[in-house]
């Protein structure tokens, strides 16, 4: 049974934005056609409701609704894009795009808009999370954290997002998609200003509300643990990376795989399609249509091409490079080789944003139990490429780094900076096991991973 994506908006609260949206996108396409131009028009409605809390109280509370229009014009290899949140002025938007088009030289690679393809109609909605429920979640979290330690300072975020878009084009595309989701994060801080302990837990969620109490108490226990730190010398350590740490490395693998980097030679994926680049235990799927498994879901990409659930890395082998229609035309010679991964100009035009790392058979407790002397990393922070071609990254541990001794947690460790390549971290033979339980994050859903070695380059000092 098909799902009506327009039901994602509560018309009782927000009225009927679709009448305006339909009128403007159809008017724009009509106006462009009447001038002999090829056009693609996107109308988007986005609702963001975000509650931020800090020092154990709400500090910011945003409630946002945005209706926007994007017009892309194309003629004889020339292309321009104009977008606006100024509704009711389609003629002005058209003129702006037209002026820009007339000032453009033709691009020999550009073949125009992709041909229409049929897609699915699936329910990608989440349980609505009201303003009052989020304020209650804040109070619940603070109370639960204070049960662990009455001196805790609690911070975090509780948010709810809904997104709807319709794309129509002179090629005949006319598609719509909608999705929604929720996010909860709690941070706990303990100790004097010059020597603090920090903990954090977070998750995206769609239908099953997480236990805010459990998350707040786990974060507070981590903050308590990290008040008393051992200092480890930098070097290579056997590690268990918790799901929050794995998601950071996965983001770089996903966004490092883009058509520009692949073809220009700046990406780790260059010359590697079909090759084994990771350990055979690593299988990654991109599942933009599976709302039960991933957070970033959509039925169509930003060009109106249907998304597809597909294999990205299979048993360690790189199987897939994403393309939008421009990069497909430029690098493959055919705009219709586009894969349904267009990000609307970001990340080299196409990206993988809905990945899952397939589960293994080890619980995180089993993974820790199997280590004689190593580290457990709960999360990373401020990760950046140092060498895109080699998958080189640097970043720091944050919100919980623990020593593992003879299979048991043996105290918290002062944060370390890592300087490591994800190609080396996940290379054949270095992945000991994959965890059997996942957590959902913005662009991927991942379990813990046990690695034989991981390179830390320096100690992150504190002021104490």
């Amino acid at each position: 049974m098909s799902w009506n994506p327009r039901t994602i908006i509560d018309s009782g609260e927000f009225g009927d934005p679709f009448t305006i949206l339909d009128r403007d996108v159809e008017m724009l396409l009509h106006l462009a056609k009447s001038k002999g131009l090829e056009a693609q028009v996107t109308g988007e409605l986005r609702l963001d409701s975000v509650t931020r809390f800090a020092v154990s109280q709400v500090t910011q509370h945003h409630d946002l609704s945005t209706l926007s229009l994007q017009l892309v014009l194309y003629k004889d290899g020339r292309r321009s894009t104009a977008s606006t949140t100024l509704i009711d002025h389609p003629e002005t938007l058209l003129k702006q795009a037209e002026d820009a088009l007339n000032g453009s030289p033709p691009n020999e690679f550009d073949q125009g808009f992709p041909s229409p393809r049929p897609g699915d109609s699936l329910d990608l909605s989440a349980k609505p999370w009201t303003i009052e429920e989020r304020a209650d979640a804040v109070i619940t979290s603070v109370n639960a954290a204070e049960e662990v330690d009455s001196g805790v300072i609690v911070a975090g975020t509780a948010s709810s997002t809904s997104n709807y878009f319709r794309i129509i084009s002179t090629e005949g595309t006319d598609v719509e998609s909608a999705s929604s989701g929720n996010y909860f994060k709690v941070n706990s801080i303990l100790g004097p200003p010059e020597s603090r302990g920090y903990g954090q837990e977070e998750t995206q969620w769609r239908h099953t509300m997480p236990s805010f109490e459990n998350y707040a108490q786990e974060a507070t226990r981590t903050a308590k643990d990290t008040l008393d730190l051992k200092t480890f010398v930098p070097g290579e350590y056997e590690v268990v990376l918790g799901p929050r740490a794995v998601t950071d490395l996965m983001n770089f693998i996903q966004f490092g795989t883009n058509p520009v980097g692949f073809h220009e030679g700046t990406s780790y994926s260059a010359d590697k399609l079909g090759d084994q680049v990771f350990d055979e235990k690593i299988t990654i799927r991109d599942l933009p249509k599976d709302a039960s498994k991933v957070f970033f879901t959509r039925l169509f990409d930003s060009e109106g091409i249907p998304t597809q659930n597909r294999i990205f890395v299979e048993d360690g082998s790189l199987k897939f490079i994403p393309y939008d229609s421009f990069s497909a035309a430029k690098y493959l010679g055919d705009k219709n080789e586009a894969t349904g991964n267009s990000g609307g100009g970001f990340f080299g035009g196409a990206f993988l944003g809905s990945a899952i790392l397939e589960l293994g058979d080890q619980s995180i407790e089993d993974q820790i139990l199997s280590i004689k002397d190593g580290l457990y990393v709960k999360s990373f922070w401020y990760n950046r490429f140092t060498d895109r071609r080699r998958g080189g990254l640097t970043g720091l541990t944050r919100n919980g780094l623990y020593h593992i001794k003879d299979g048991e947690i043996n105290g918290a460790v002062r944060n370390l900076r890592y300087t490591e390549s994800f190609l080396r971290a996940f290379e054949q033979g270095n992945v000991q096991s994959i965890g059997n339980e996942s957590r959902m994050f913005m662009f991927n859903t991942v379990p813990s991973v046990h690695l034989s070695k991981f390179r830390f380059s320096s100690v992150a000092h504190s002021m104490s």
């Binding site: 800090a54 000032g103 970043g395 320096s458």
Partner: protein
Amino acid sequence: MSNRIDDDIMSYALEKGQSYDMTYVDVKWMSRDSRKLNVKNGALERNSQSTSQGIGIKMLVDGGYGFAASNIVTKKSIDNLAKRAFRVAKASGITMKRPISLAEEPVYEDTVQTPTNKDPLNQPVEETVAVLVDATKEADNGDPRIKARNAVFSTWSDHMVLWTSEGTKIDQKIIVTGGGVDTLAVQGSNVERRSYPASFRGNFATAGYEYFEDLDLVNISPKATEEALRLLDAPHCPSINDATIIIKPAQLMLQLHENGHGFEIDRAYDYEAAFAGTSFMKPHLVDELMFGNELITIYGDATYPRGLGTFYYDHEGVKAQKTTLVEEGKLVAYLSSRETAPLKGWKRSSGSARALNYARMPLIRMTNINLKPGDWNFDEMIEDTKDGYMFDTNVSWSIDDLRLSFQFGTEIGWRIENGEITGLIKKPSYTGITPQFWNSADAIANEDSFQMYGTPNCGKGEPGQVMYTGHGASPTRFRNVRIGVVQS
């Protein structure tokens, strides 16, 4: 697509907000007009124009803030916004243990705009594209190892109309223009990129189209190509624990930026603990902590001409200021807002609260974080360096959540031996601890070598806000720095 807000809509929104049981309300209408052009290898690959506008109502109720915004600017929509702002403020208010009180600020009625000679949004697209095409053509020397030659132009205009229940009425337009070139050279798995005048879309200023013309991209682009190719064959930056390095402004600007986040008072008081992080410069350290040595004086200066963080009023209606953050090495102040200045007992905000657009609440954002120039002639600084390295143009950056432990990579480095530059090094990197690093400075070049750079994409907050900030510095020499952390 220039647009304006009518006074009667602003007046209606303010009155509607004031009709609720609140202690403060402001109405902020903002619009952004922008244009971005990218040329790669002589072909136009991005030609985008954008206009966003809308209105936000921020309300203080029971000591808690509520904010609602929409791009539908009608009286009916405003009725709903005011209702929702009040509702979320009430929901916030029930959690408040320390109600918000605002630092006082005079009431202003003012209309201001960035001075420009040529409106960048009204320049014909074809003229700018022609410059960019020429720049990428000039960067082509026929070497097959050159895989990409890029030239970019960006401009935007942020128009804010802010009315508050205290009587302030500000109409402010900030205009930004920028551009740059870069060349990508690839030989096997050896990848080098060289950018001018800075990496990541070039450099930016609050200025008109004349700033883009002054960048002279057509004449600078061959240098990017030449250096990218030379870097392919250059030796790798060595691994040394106690090197002497001179950092040029196109890298030092990002050092100032990343360390500069630590001066944001919301971080110092844990308001950003859940996302951006906190600061090692805790409130009790003001007037005590030696951030650097006596050579180091750092300003937060929202008034610096053409700085990317230059404006007239912040988004709480506070007049732009020049604040000394570090005076001869000592931490003396923070960047603050009306909500946060009272936390430290200060009576006035430093005027640092800005929002991405109509749909965001203002956060404390850096303005222009500038290092006061020293008295060294730059050439004499090199001559005085017997065994060292010089780094320029950021390519990689990472710093911990306290803004204490950092690691940077740059596009290019030079070897200095016996007071002379003797060659290039590739993949330079350095790491350190913020106060140790700034205490190791032993020479700062004079004002003749001072350069302003802009960082247009500084992220902070949830929902995410991207802000533009400026950073000025002269080349500065540091001792005992660990370099060459990143090895292949």
